[in-house]
């Protein structure tokens, strides 16, 4: 599953940032899933469990996953809108799942139909905080 690649980026990035902050052990990492990308939490968590074996600093880290609702702002008409209510086929949803920018190909502003909107919130996977021990 492609979630594995992103889970690896999260654990690797968290460990690197811990190193920069001179933290020896990671205790907690805040992971944000943007609603738009629709990452499968179960697969992602399973991948993290597998991956932590390769990253000793994250052996006991708790990954706290939170979903951020997607919010869009149209550049053409300034309308702000959520993901809910935007129509997409199953295939289109899958393409957006792999590359969230495909939203500009398959979704449009409900008010003026423009594809020129900004993904203001809730795009993809990010890290919101890390906690650890020095």
């Amino acid at each position: 599953m492609h979630e594995w690649a992103l889970a690896e980026s999260v654990i690797k990035s968290a460990v690197e940032h811990a190193g920069e902050q001179k933290l020896k052990k990671l205790k907690e990492t805040g992971v944000v899933f943007g609603e738009l990308q629709a990452i499968d939490k179960e697969i992602f968590s399973f991948a993290l469990e597998e991956l932590r074996k390769q990253f000793p600093a994250a052996a006991a880290c708790r990954f706290k996953i939170e979903v951020e609702p997607a919010a869009f702002r149209c550049k053409a008409c300034a309308h702000e809108f959520p993901l809910k209510g935007l129509k997409k086929t199953k295939d289109e949803a899958e393409f957006i799942h792999f590359v969230p920018e495909m939203a500009h190909t398959f979704l449009k502003c409900p008010k003026c139909k423009s594809p020129d909107f900004e993904i203001a919130r809730g795009r993809g996977v990010s890290i919101s905080y890390i906690k650890g021990e020095k």
């Binding site: 690896e8 980026s9 190909t105």
Partner: protein, 234 residues
């Protein structure tokens, strides 16, 4: 704080790639895509493990040059590019259903980073990048993430193209990006100024697009092969 975790794995994804060749040219429509795609076919044909990544998201065309239809990456700890005529191929068209991809610069960069982070290229001798015209997000991201990428520059016999090219070469020099060579495409047969090799205008090229076997038999491919050798590529 918000950390974008994706850049941390890009070096890992490109770890098995020996050489990254960015086919660039600062003008549009001068033959970058036919050059990049045909170069990938030539390298694969010579037995090199080769990848081709179409980084021109707005104008993706390598799938048309290759005639690659009905392909999709395999989902496996990321995305494994489908293999077409011996070339591992990645393009945004897999995800756009041949519809327009209207992206602003920052979105282009985000999509490139996403694909670099999730694409599992495996072991490759060459990864050929087809670049969009100009120095923009794709070019800057390649310099940022594919450290060690080498440039194969395409130009055409025009004062305008040459002047723009000079400026771009100066920039690459300043940034320490190695330039393998400049290829003058659509040449009229005269000795190219400032280029290491010429590729003649081939009236039969258009008809061979989309058919790899025919493409490799064109005068264009023969000239390109010679040019690639001069640039130190196989």
């Amino acid at each position: 704080m918000t950390i974008d975790p994706r850049p941390s794995v890009i070096a890992e994804r490109l770890k098995g790639v020996k050489r990254v060749i960015a086919v660039t040219g600062w003008k549009g429509g001068i033959g970058k895509s036919v050059t990049a795609s045909t170069l990938a076919l030539l390298l694969a044909k010579q037995g090199y493990r080769t990848g081709l990544f179409d980084l021109d998201f707005a104008g993706a065309s390598d799938h048309l040059v290759l005639g690659a239809k009905g392909l999709f990456p395999k989902e496996e700890k990321g995305l494994e590019p489908p293999v077409f005529e011996g070339v591992k191929f990645m393009s945004v068209v897999f995800f756009s259903e041949n519809k327009a991809v209207p992206l602003r610069g920052a979105n282009v960069s985000d999509a490139i980073i996403e694909l670099l982070a999730i694409t599992q290229w495996g072991e490759l001798d060459f990864l050929v990048l087809d670049m969009p015209p100009g120095i923009n997000d794709a070019a800057l991201d390649v310099m940022r993430f594919a450290k060690g990428a080498e440039v194969l520059a395409v130009t055409v016999p025009s004062v305008l193209a040459h002047d723009v090219l000079e400026r771009s070469l100066a920039l690459y020099r300043r940034l320490g990006v190695p330039v393998l060579g400049v290829v003058e495409n659509m040449s009229d047969g005269r000795r190219p100024a400032g280029a290491c090799a010429a590729i003649r205008r081939d009236p039969k090229l258009e008809a061979a697009l989309g058919r790899p076997a025919a493409l490799l038999k064109t005068a264009f491919a023969r000239d390109l092969r010679r040019a690639a050798a001069k640039a130190g590529l196989a």
